[in-house]
């Protein structure tokens, strides 16, 4: 039934696919060596889709040809970087998570004299403002310090600005209500034309910094680490590195919050944490156990 006068493209052999895989690895190696961004241990399936997507859009016939351009044209690299780093986020993504955080983590945080929170992979900042608002409503913002990090300086700049399209903000307001918000989300932002800008006071205790989970080191003595829907892009080896990094960066009794489809199962470090809320993936670092 193929055909019917329709011009069908040629078959794609296993050899050709194999060759593409090699070329993709070479591209990622080239990016690492020239620009210092390390995607070599990212999850293979999604990297491949992103690279092939950019290949189709750019009109090159092979990944190797595109690699040549990437190496010689910084602007083109930035376009590809945008494809490879996944910057899709929203305020109060998974409202039930924020509700659980409010009910199960906040009461403990209230007993601390100060609170350090690391949001690893904050992208354009929607979730860091979600947390800032939650802390303010719980009377915790004054003694909190929020560290928002991402690999990509461009998205960090956007996160710092805290300006979001108004059409998205309506969805966020709905998430906020479902997350147990006490007021109205519009109390925390000012509308301007077709954008909203987050209130300046929410930014007082937020530090934005670039940090690459694949290559950079411990980010000290945190009480809470939020890293939601970042680890899904990493392969298991890199995941294990990151879990170690989190373990070392967390205070005893500190909380680790993952995305709802992510698991500690493959971390090699499962025993270091106890489960606080399983469906919402909230974990707590255990006290060290004494050897018997």
């Amino acid at each position: 039934m193929n055909g019917d006068g329709v011009e069908t493209e040629t078959a794609i052999s296993d050899d050709q696919v194999h060759l593409e895989d090699i070329e993709i690895r070479l591209l990622l190696e080239a990016i690492y060596q020239l620009y210092g961004y390390d995607f070599r241990s990212y999850s293979q399936a999604s990297m491949r889709r992103r690279v092939m997507h950019r290949l189709t859009m750019s009109g090159f016939s092979t990944v190797l040809q595109m690699t040549d351009r990437v190496l010689r044209d910084r602007q083109f690299f930035v376009t590809l970087l945008n494809d490879l780093t996944v910057n899709v986020t929203e305020m109060y993504r998974d409202p039930e998570f924020y509700r659980a955080f409010r009910e199960e983590v906040v009461p403990v945080l209230k007993t601390f004299p100060f609170i350090k929170i690391w949001h690893a992979g904050c992208a354009t900042g929607e979730e860091i403002y979600s947390m800032a608002i939650l802390l303010e409503e719980e009377g915790l913002y004054e003694r909190a310090m929020l560290y928002a990090t991402d690999i990509d300086k461009n998205v960090l700049a956007a996160a710092k600005k805290g300006i979001y399209p108004i059409h998205a903000f309506k969805q966020y307001a709905d998430n906020y209500r479902r997350a147990g918000g006490r007021h109205s989300l519009s109390d925390y932002a000012t509308a301007r034309y077709d954008s909203v800008i987050m209130e300046q006071r929410l930014k007082r205790n937020i530090v934005f910094a670039d940090h690459d989970l694949a290559t950079d080191q411990v980010f000290g003595e945190m009480h809470v680490i939020l890293c939601r829907n970042v680890l899904i892009y990493f392969d298991r080896t890199l995941q294990q590195r990151v879990f170690r990094l989190f373990d070392e960066s967390l205070d005893m009794g500190g909380y680790l919050c993952l995305g709802t489809k992510e698991s500690l199962r493959f971390s090699g470090d499962e025993d270091a944490f106890e489960v606080v809320n399983k469906p919402m993936r909230i974990f707590r670092k255990r006290q060290p156990r004494h050897n018997v």
Binding site: M1, A11, V17, Q44, A45, V86, I232, K261
Partner: protein, 195 residues
């Protein structure tokens, strides 16, 4: 085996899954366009129609034969070369996340001629490019007939693209899959897709 549907998909999936035997030898991965807040309701619903275990997968979960994996709302579901599931929240494709194209492209890549792609009822064109990729990789491709579809746009788009090998009415699809994949049990090795 990979399947994709949009408008009318729940009916189509329950019809197809209910006619598969409990010793069905292939792993089934399916995408249904749905609202991101729907959570795992679809997997739960479909499990009532299906003798096979229906799974709402976690990231990096191993793909096992005889299991049905339902893409979680708000995530794209892909296949890694090590036969595990990759979930991503990359931007929507054809306004959809999960997107059928995302699943079909990655399954075509990993499984080559050992994949069977099925495009079902739906009201947009998601899936036709991915199905065409499966065809070009030597996989089998199947579409629900437009006249048996609640929304014919999706199968029509795939057919117009020349991506479709066979067209079947909805009530024929389940029995067809059950019959044509039974032979697979004897040919099949531990790791489909690996040469």
């Amino acid at each position: 085996m990979v399947m994709g549907a949009s408008w009318g998909g729940l009916n189509a999936y329950s019809s197809i899954l209910s006619s598969l035997p409990e010793d069905f030898p292939a792993a089934i991965m399916l995408v249904q366009h749905q609202n991101a807040s729907a959570d795992n309701r679809l997997a739960w619903l479909l499990s009532k129609y299906c003798r096979l275990p229906v799974v709402a997968p976690e990231d990096k979960e191993r793909i096992r034969p005889g299991h049905v994996y339902v893409a979680p709302p708000g995530y794209h579901m892909l296949v890694n070369v090590d036969h595990t599931i990759a979930l991503t929240i990359y931007r929507p494709v054809h306004f959809s996340r999960p997107s059928i194209d995302e699943l079909f492209f990655s399954a075509g890549h990993v499984y080559g001629r050992q994949v069977l792609g099925v495009i079902l009822t739906g009201a947009n064109e998601d899936g036709s490019e991915g199905l065409d990729y499966i065809r070009r990789r030597g996989g089998r491709t199947l579409a629900q007939s437009p006249q048996s579809s609640e929304a014919p746009i999706m199968p029509e788009a795939a057919i117009a693209k020349g991506a479709v090998g066979e067209i079947l009415d909805l009530e024929r699809i389940g029995p067809y899959l059950a019959e044509s994949l039974v032979g697979l049990r004897n040919e099949k090795t531990e790791h489909p897709g690996r040469r």
